[in-house]
Symmetry: C2
Subunit: 152 residues, 2 copies
Amino acid sequence: MACEEAFFKKLRERGFRLTPQREMVLSVLHQIGDFATAEQIHDKVHALSSSVDISTVYRTLDLFEDFRMVSCVERGDGQRVYELLGMHGPHLHLVCSGCGSVMGAELDLARPLAVCLREDYGFEVDVNRLHIPGFCHECQPVSGEAATVEKR
Amino acid sequence: MACEEAFFKKLRERGFRLTPQREMVLSVLHQIGDFATAEQIHDKVHALSSSVDISTVYRTLDLFEDFRMVSCVERGDGQRVYELLGMHGPHLHLVCSGCGSVMGAELDLARPLAVCLREDYGFEVDVNRLHIPGFCHECQPVSGEAATVEKR
DNA sequence: CTTGTTATTGCCATTATGTGCAGTTACTAT
DNA sequence: ATAGTAACTGCACATAATGGCAATAACAAG
């Protein structure tokens, strides 16, 4: 695939190396095509080559994130999920605190806020990494008040 | 302090109990008056009563968060810091990916975005929990391009 | 004050993720 | 093709945070 070639080239240009592990992680991400945990990714990579360690998967995902190839969102439960960017391109992540689902949203919606924060606070927002907590349509909090605390 | 009394009352109304551990955590948060990690908080609580376990501190902070007494932000390094709300009231958190500092910002700035997301996506943003990654004034990324990946 | 109920705690095991290091291997230049 | 160099990996271990559970203790009612 052309986009992968381009990525591999960019890797090498910056002094990184193209290893089988990195190829496999990328391929698995492609195959999954959706959000996946590091462990799910590792499972699939492990099926291809059983000696690949999960720490390598983590490091690879970090690298891909630096390269804006994948983005990572913290799901409601204490686990992170990784998504291959690419065709969809970068977008906002709406993370539902109720069901843990992650929805993509138009990135430009955050632009005005970014401008405000730059002008008023000198803060340069990294919109790519912005993820927004709240409740999706199905999980709307009961009544108008959010400050209701439930007993476990 | 009046605000603490009010909180304790609210606790009891909802069937929670007022324990010395919870009092101590609250008092320590007050004393610190700034962002602190769970471990920093635990250290200070431990000085007051040496048998208090760190898991209790975590659970207490979670509870306080549910009650909107504290808010928690994920700092750049993989650690979370907790802040006592109260006088400052809720606000946006601007988290610098460079130095890890956390800056407060006017909460209303996020309102227009929240409205968009509600109308276009049926997503109810939890502005209290919104924290925004980027770079503070001191840590502005070099040149205009953010996609530069450095070798470790 | 005594007693009963059950939220809470401390302890310890477990999970998810990150790190240090020595051996391995992708790439570069000969 | 060969050798040199430094990025990368696998392993073992470190760390932050969470969960299970029996013992404890806060609160309500008598």
